[in-house]
């Protein structure tokens, strides 16, 4: 089969994404990933008050707003030479962690599960679980109704082989319903300090506006425990069940082999010690993170601005009709290389760093359960497994951070905005390395650049024609049926793309 297949829009991700794959002899020979929505945040931020940034940049993405808010306040902390009090740092961690947990659970169940789990099988359910009987009644009623598309949004779907094991299937379906509530409980947990989720109110330079009280600390803990139970008893086992049923996805979509993480969740006042450490693996070797190594190409992106700039000097000038350009995403590079970012990069960085004994033990245990070595993690299933594992360790860590809070202690360090200054904020979103670069002149934003996780992963080709990580991961993937290219969809979704973020 030689054919060009287009998947546009790719649904069950955040935003507007298009994929084009050129299939030769049944396998993807070349892939092109396009971001299809642009708003121009970097342009509209210029000239605004710097304090607008942590609110406006959160609106880049409703799935990972807290991470943008964090990157922005970290950039301002640096520009204003601020160190938040311990409570400020810990409350920020707890807020961001809540967003991570909600995002990871949402990704596996709401966004990915329908690629593997068979909703239609519910008609065969013979058990007594009330929620499943309820779902069965609904699906049956829908299938016999005069709906244009019965049981939407769960059907229609690609015709392919789904999870065959009935128990695993029914379990995952029940957990899909549970996940809807659990993810909103995680958001509620974050809102205890954020004011509201998504789009937090309380993140400001110098810390947070919210205070820790004995009440909100206990409320957070009360909400956390059932979430931990869900992760341990549903999320991780479901990932393992899917992994067991689709073992071929452990050797599929290795990607570019380069990994980048800025590290996240500071555990010391200066922010140097982090729960998940930073690092970069370039051409097979791990090295210390160098923020100066980040540049962005726009040769094949819909921008007329200068290519290859470092973010502090970056520009964003839209050129929607630029010849040869096929995406609204820029092409970020680290030492000139495309880099995969996300939970897999973070787990691998922490694993090789070795400083986090729990992480090391958990990864070893996971690999033992799977009967595979660490190289299998760079794959579709490896990405799902790394995400679930990180979710567990992070939820467990939240309990430790809660113990470190001092009720009523200051969580904010006062500041004044300087006439001019620069700062960058490097953190992680649920889906990977996130950086904001801020330049202030006359107390206003002179330049603001965001280099975002999905910009890394879904990057188009750079000025040298080198494909981005998802584009590389798709190459070699066998497409059995051009009408139902589920394999490509599974590969793309394993990266948890967020396109509103990526283009901004």
């Amino acid at each position: 089969m030689n054919k060009t297949i287009k998947l546009s829009p790719v649904t069950r991700i955040e935003g507007h994404l298009g994929i084009k794959v050129e299939v030769e002899d049944g396998r993807v020979a070349r892939a092109y990933v396009s971001g299809e929505m642009f708003r121009g945040f970097e342009t509209l931020l210029r000239g605004r008050d710097p304090l607008d940034a942590q609110y406006i940049t959160q609106r880049i993405c409703g799935v990972c707003p807290i991470d943008h808010g964090m990157a922005s306040v970290l950039a301002q902390d640096m520009a204003y030479q601020l160190t938040p009090p311990d409570n400020g740092r810990i409350i920020r961690n707890l807020t961001q962690a809540a967003n991570f947990i909600a995002s990871h659970i949402t990704h596996f169940y709401l966004l990915s599960a329908l690629d593997f789990v068979d909703v239609a099988m519910i008609t065969e359910y013979q058990g007594k679980d009330r929620a499943l009987l309820d779902l069965q009644a609904w699906v049956k009623a829908q299938l016999s109704s005069r709906q244009v598309y019965p049981a939407a949004p769960f059907l229609p779907r690609y015709a392919t082989k789904y999870l065959a094991d009935k128990d695993a299937n029914f379990g995952a379906l029940k957990h899909y319903m549970d996940a809807l509530e659990i993810r909103s409980q995680a958001h509620k947990m974050g809102a205890l300090f954020a004011g509201k989720m998504p789009h937090a109110a309380s993140l400001v330079p110098g810390g947070v506006t919210a205070k820790a009280t004995s009440l909100n600390i206990s409320q957070y803990r009360t909400l956390l425990e059932p979430i931990q139970d869900f992760i341990n008893q549903s999320y991780l086992p479901d990932v393992l069940a899917v992994a067991g049923a689709f073992p071929e996805y452990f050797s599929l979509a290795q990607g570019c082999g380069n990994f980048l993480t800025y590290g996240v969740f500071p555990e010391s006042a200066d922010g140097a010690a982090k729960f998940l450490p930073g690092g970069a693996r370039v051409k097979g070797k791990w090295q210390k993170l160098d923020p100066e190594a980040v540049t962005e190409d726009v040769g094949q992106s819909r921008f007329s601005s200068a290519s290859g700039r470092k973010p502090f000097d970056g520009e964003t000038v839209a050129a929607p009709d630029k010849s040869g350009a096929y995406s609204w995403l820029k092409a970020p590079r680290y030492q000139g290389e495309p880099m995969e970012v996300g939970p897999l990069a973070r787990v691998l960085a922490a694993y090789q760093d070795g400083g986090n004994a729990e992480m090391k033990g958990a990864v070893d245990q996971l690999l033992k359960t799977l009967g595979r070595d660490a190289t299998a993690l760079a794959s579709v299933m490896g990405r799902h497994a790394a995400r679930a594992l990180e979710c567990k360790l992070l939820a467990d860590r939240c309990a430790v951070w809660l113990d470190q809070l001092t009720p009523e202690a200051p969580a904010f360090k006062d500041f004044s905005i300087p006439e001019s200054g620069r700062g960058y904020g490097l953190t992680e979103a649920a889906r990977g390395a996130l950086g904001h670069w801020l330049d202030i002149k006359n107390k206003k934003i002179a330049n603001y650049q965001c280099v975002v996780p999905t910009t890394w992963n879904c990057s188009p080709r750079d000025d040298h024609g080198v494909a981005g990580p998802v584009e590389q991961a798709l190459v070699g993937v066998a497409i059995a049926d051009a009408e139902n290219p589920i394999e490509a969809a599974r590969v793309v979704r394993s990266f948890d793309p967020c396109l509103a973020c990526a283009v901004h």
Binding site: F38, R39, G62, A141
Partner: protein, 309 residues
């Protein structure tokens, strides 16, 4: 529908009647509405323009009606980009078939890039053109969130795409379908769920001059503020993290007509003001519109402090 379903169904109807402020006498009518909806008599089509999906995410945080119940009992969600199993060409076909059929409630999240149609595409079609097709065949249009209602962040001063709100865009294209605006950045799930069901069963809810349901958007944040007494006593916070009215830190409560302070967010556990943060007016029609109008500020408090000294 079996007995268990019927019972929980009525319970939901009761809860929804309370949510809508309709009282006990409306319960059977709400139940009837839900029954109709569950049979797919009033499909919902959700389209995304220049958005961040935050309103969709917020909707998933709904508690008055949980998202699963919403999908299986309350609405028949024909298509939603973030939730639908259908992908690629199949997704395009699903949307087109629903549009051709017509008669749905159209919910739109996000602004429209009026001067740069390539800045938002659905498959091969500019979102703007898809919206024109879909709006023309809708029974009613509901704009979810500040971007869709007023333009919001994508339409902020100096934006490069010429983004406009959905009502402004449709007016420009001469499409006259009733639009209900449910603003907020993001929407509060209660505002959207309550409005959808009201619109389906009871027709258009009472709205103000901007098309906003009075049930949620008729009083200012300031009137319902837990720090209102601080304002009255002229006890103003001078910086973040302090007690006192947040007005001098740029709080937009007096000009923002949402019920966040009473309703609370995420199941009512908190709100911006309760978390010590000034209201940034994210549900207001001018949210982010002017570059020279900061969302929060330290200048006003600093000037006061100087004057006091």
């Amino acid at each position: 529908m079996n007995a268990i379903n019927r019972r929980s169904f009525l319970k939901l109807s009761t809860r929804l009647s309370v949510l809508l402020g309709l009282g006990a006498s409306a319960i059977p009518r709400v139940a009837e509405a839900l029954d109709e909806l569950s049979q797919g008599l009033a499909p919902v089509l959700w389209l995304q323009g220049q958005c961040c999906s935050g309103c969709s995410v917020s909707l998933l945080d709904s508690e008055a009606v949980t998202p699963y119940k919403l999908l299986t009992r309350y609405i028949s969600l024909g298509f939603h980009q973030t939730l639908s199993a259908a992908t690629g060409d199949q997704a395009v076909q699903v949307v087109n078939k629903i549009v051709n059929q017509g008669g749905y409630v159209l919910i739109v999240e996000g602004a429209v890039p009026d001067k740069m149609p390539q800045a938002c595409m659905f498959g091969e079609e500019p979102f703007a053109e898809q919206l024109v097709r879909a709006a023309g065949k809708a029974k009613i249009i509901l704009t979810a969130g500040t971007c869709s209602c007023y333009g919001g962040v994508p339409a902020a001063e100096n934006n490069p795409t010429g983004a406009v709100s959905v009502p402004a865009f449709l007016k420009g294209r001469g499409i006259a379908v009733p639009v209900i605006r449910v603003p907020g950045c993001p929407i509060h799930p209660d505002w959207l769920v309550g409005t959808v069901v009201h619109a389906l069963k009871f027709g258009l809810p009472p709205v103000d001059g901007l098309g906003r349901p009075l049930a949620y958007f008729s009083k200012s944040m300031h009137e319902q503020c837990p720090r209102f007494n601080d304002y009255e006593r002229e006890h103003f916070a001078k910086t973040f993290g302090e007690n006192g009215c947040l007005f001098k830190l740029g709080c937009a409560g007096p000009i923002t007509y949402t019920d966040c302070n009473l309703r609370g967010w995420n199941g009512g556990v908190n709100s911006c003001i309760r978390a010590g943060a000034p209201c940034i007016g994210c549900g207001g029609e001018n949210f982010c519109a002017q570059a020279g109008f900061p969302l929060i500020t330290k200048e006003r408090a600093a000037e006061t402090t100087k004057a006091d000294a």
